[in-house]
Assembly symmetry: C2
């Protein structure tokens, strides 16, 4: 399968990531961005390699920023070859090789700053987490270039880990507080066919949560665990994974664990893991997910809290958790075709993930709130984790390179193929080539998605091909219609689990038209979500919208949408580089308010124009208020 995006929406972002973000982040890793928090990540490697003197600086998991950057750059090389960039990566890989220890260990913090602490702090040390990101990077770089150096280094590292950690009596029976190596080892297994890597991943996942937990004795666990938001459930270590039916703890950790479980379920054909994942999926998406696809309701512990607790202004909704949800959703689609997964993947991609990056690709949100009042947000102690404007870099810089790697690999999330079934999960103009039982199938997809739900898929075949083309019917579409060569299909007859399955002998130049009509729609929350009571969010196709002060003035909470207000969608090329805006009439309180706090109710609302923009685009103009949920009556 080979997918080449050439659409109006994503491809410019991918190109920008390749042309701007990856070079920018390379500078950031080298501390060359003025005004940004220093990274020191490359310098840490030089110090570890003995080529520079100085002290380690940064988070214990600083290496993972380099790893994710290489992974992103490697993905970009697949579709955007760049010998200069490849040379830079080769040089970093060489530097890493010199920093790798004789036994295969590679970690700048524990080598330079705390050598005596190696394998001591599994709860918060992030050693295996960093190893996992390095492995993912090595696999990606090998796949992009077929160069083995980095991959071999990481196999050495994995071999070393496999020698010292595991269920055997002479090994440490531990796992990492922050999941990541589990899914990385499955990737390493897939590329090397080395079953030991799969088994080690399986060990990590199955050991997790067994009681009594080794973490309780872990030196790193002590201090934070007195804080109840950092207990075992923070690490998804409160129960064996198959007995976890609710999503708990640190949201990114959880997403990486569930992704690894899905990988193992597929690699091992383990239905018990799939069954556990279905329950977790249902729980997350029906109790603890923001409408933007954001996850994590509390800054303290960057974590899930309790069911239906989804505060908009103090949300954590970390960009990395959104990325993790995309990863998990796509892996679920590899286990079973169900639009529940595809719909959420689309929701988070277009909203809670994309909001993490500025339009120009150089500024980031770590936290993606659904409501911001800058003066309050900046003042209040309980909102200090929320930034009201994107910033150029973070001391804890997990999100920017994570965004880069998902954008440069976005093409891999559009399709899956299972024998003679080709499934299309996401919609954007692209040209994609498949091998169906030895025959070449090329799909030419053209669409203005997400600004328009009309999608044309033209087939290019060397000869007739019998296969099923399966298209996700988006749950937001009220009147989906599909034609093949002008003939309308009976969707109720062919739709299974939200996918329209068109099975026939396809001919060259067959044409499929997907009519997924988009319209401005009001969405309401379950009444158990106290924060959203009496409010609606505006959606248009896959996009969640928001109000910004730039368009609607201050005090956005004062705006109310009458029940009968029509919202019109219209493309505006003068706003935010060209977007579909939703516009209509709303109400604001009467202007007679004076310098008083409370008064008997006076009902003299006045009509005002209201303009909503896609949530992912907020914060790209002058700073101001923003809200996703709007009062309604």
């Amino acid at each position: 399968m080979k997918v080449r995006l050439h659409d109006q929406f994503w491809q410019p972002k991918v190109r920008q990531t390749v042309q701007e973000t990856i070079p920018y982040q390379w500078k950031a890793l080298n501390d060359e961005i003025e005004g940004a928090e220093p990274s020191h990540a490359i310098e840490n490697l030089r110090i570890t390699a003995g080529e520079k003197t100085g002290a380690f600086y940064g988070m214990v998991f600083q290496d993972s920023d380099v790893a994710k950057w290489i992974e992103a750059a490697a993905y970009s090389l697949r579709h955007s070859p760049d010998p200069g960039l490849e040379g830079v990566i080769d040089a970093v890989v060489d530097l890493m090789k010199r920093a790798q220890q004789p036994d295969g260990y590679l970690n700048t913090y524990f080598t330079v700053a705390a050598p005596e602490q190696r394998w001591h702090d599994f709860a918060f040390g992030h050693e295996l987490y960093c190893a996992g990101h390095l492995m993912e990077a090595a696999v990606a770089y090998f796949e992009a270039t077929q160069k083995r150096t980095f991959l071999d280094m990481m196999c050495r590292y994995a071999d070393y880990i496999d020698r010292v950690i595991g269920p055997d009596p002479d090994k440490m029976r531990v796992y990492c507080g922050h999941e990541e190596i589990e899914l990385a080892l499955v990737k390493l297994y897939r590329i090397t066919n080395e079953l030991r890597y799969l088994n080690l991943s399986r060990y990590f996942v199955e050991e997790r949560g067994k009681q009594p937990s080794f973490l309780k004795e872990d030196p790193g666990f002590g201090a934070p665990s007195k804080d109840r938001w950092f207990e075992l459930d923070y690490h998804q270590a409160h129960d064996p994974v198959r007995e976890q039916h609710t999503a708990e703890g640190h949201a990114v950790r959880a997403m990486y664990l569930y992704s690894a479980m899905a990988d193992l379920a597929k690699a091992c054909g383990d239905e018990t893991l799939t069954e556990a994942l279905r329950k977790l999926w249902h729980h997350v998406t029906s109790k603890r997910m923001y409408i933007t696809g954001g996850l994590g309701s509390q800054g303290h512990g960057e974590r899930f809290t309790i069911d239906y607790d989804l505060p908009n202004d103090t949300a954590y909704t970390e960009t990395c958790a959104s990325i993790g949800l995309v990863m998990w959703a796509f892996r679920m689609l590899q286990l079973e075709t169900d639009s529940r997964y595809g719909d959420v993947m689309e929701r988070v991609l277009y909203n809670g993930m994309l909001s993490g990056m500025s339009l120009d690709g150089t500024r980031y949100f770590y936290v993606n709130p659904l409501e911001v009042h800058p003066a309050v947000t900046q003042y209040r102690h309980d909102m200090q984790h929320v930034k009201t404007e994107r910033v150029p870099w973070f001391g804890c810089a997990c999100c920017p390179p994570n965004l880069a790697r998902i954008l440069t690999s976005l093409d891999t999330y559009f399709f899956t193929q299972n024998g003679t079934t080709v499934m299309m999960h996401l919609y954007a103009s692209n040209e994609s080539t498949f091998d169906v039982q030895g025959k070449r199938l090329i799909l030419h997809t053209d669409t203005r998605y997400p600004w328009d739900g009309e999608i044309r898929v033209g087939l290019e075949l060397d000869e007739a091909v019998s296969c099923t083309l399966s298209f996700r019917v988006p749950s937001w579409c009220r009147t989906p219609r599909i034609t093949v060569n002008g003939e309308t299909l009976d969707l109720s007859a062919i739709t299974e689990h939200g996918y329209a399955q068109i099975n026939r002998q396809w001919m060259n130049q067959d044409e499929i038209l997907l009519h997924f009509a988009m319209a401005a729609e009001r969405i309401e929350s379950n009444p158990k979500v106290h924060e959203n009571a009496g409010k609606v969010a505006l959606q248009y196709g896959p996009l969640v919208y928001c109000l910004e002060q730039a368009d609607n003035g201050p005090d956005l909470t004062d705006i109310c949408l009458p029940v009968n207000a029509e919202f019109e969608a219209g493309y505006r090329d003068d706003i935010l580089g060209g977007i579909v805006v939703l516009s209509g009439q709303g109400l604001r309180s009467d202007p007679s308010w004076k310098d008083e706090l409370y008064r008997p109710v006076i009902r003299e609302d006045r009509s005002v124009s209201v303009l909503a923009v896609p949530y992912a685009y907020w914060g790209n103009r002058e700073p101001g208020e923003m809200t996703v949920w709007i009062r309604s009556k």
Copy 2:
């Protein structure tokens, strides 16, 4: 002036405070309440007196709990003589006398636990704060019993403080981080006529906020001041007091400062202080006061935040801040007759202050939130300061004895007299005796207030008296009407600054009827209060109402009051010991919600009965949700 309350509302609470709360709190101070956090306050005194061994335990300001308890008990002796209680107080005073140091200093923490730290930590040491509370207690006890021992002890203490602190070059030029001694010294001055005490108070107030601030060099200031919510403004030390036009910092500290400023304005005839207070009053009440009269929007720093930031679920609204606001309001009324002050005093007394105590007088709220969802409140890190049920005592137990002292002195807040003008600020059945130019005036007030706004004031005179009787016309009353001997007065002609001034020659058995009709009313917030957008609060007379889960089921945010819904007020003796409830019809979302988080809007609200109870009474039945602000459309 002598006021004897005998009403249905307050008098039982005062009696309960005398009969239950004061004995209960005495036990608490002696660590005899099972399940309550220990106090150790009396034991600290014994250790300080050298009569027990052991370590100091408690907050640095633990002494103030004893002081406030004595003050409360002393007030109670005025109207409820009790030789047994008086004996207990005498014994404590004797114990204190033995604990007092030869130089007059009296503080258990700094004598027992940190003698070398005496006068070292003005920011957070609370030494002068504790001294102030002891002085207030001594004045109250002298006024109640004419016994001088305690008063003399405190004069010795004040003399000592005056010797070591002040503007002279040989003294420490400092003031206390927590205001309190300032107002206490004015009381001490009033009772002793010792001008030095007034001057010392004036020094404390006028020194405050001068820059550069000595606090910046204060050893106690260092650590917390790195936290910006504990900077100079936390202590109201950011500007000289006359230049402070916005209420900043720790809410209780602010209220005690403003009270002291009002005392000094009156004692010194200082109009510059009054003018500063008017600005502060306007700021607090038009920008930063909850509808309950609660103050302090943030738990971290127990403080004011920014204008219009009034979150209901994370509110701090400390009971002591409410009490402080009552104190300040009453002092403003002593400076100028204006119902702005009386209205707020009434608001806070009946709502944000009274909510601090359970109906049975033995359980307390420190924090008085306006919205509680127990599961969320108990889970969330940013709500850990909020208790969902009242508790028997606190490690930091400032509030319970503070409530006791204001309830036992409540009679003193009803009237002020200025020459031949007698002003009635609060309404409750009482019998009050005044001396008007040597003639005795007795007012017999009868009312069911706050359940009913009909107030009868009968005059008992030995001979005709020419004077002005002035009655606050509550701002919540839409149709106030006053008759004298059956004749209706023209209120517009006689009302000044919200007080109906009836000036005439009064005869024995004259009868004044105040008809302050009460009705259920919806109140809305300034649109700049984001938290309350689209919501209303229900008021009835001086009472703010709330919804409780006990009456309305869970998910109170789901309830919406249609714009045309009528609310009926009715007395119900079967609820909460007898209260006026407000009942009407509201809407809840349709019951078709399944296990889903979001869906396109369906408008099928169903009608439900809604019952509201006075906010001050919430949390006296089974634990559950509560909200003051209710959605409206």
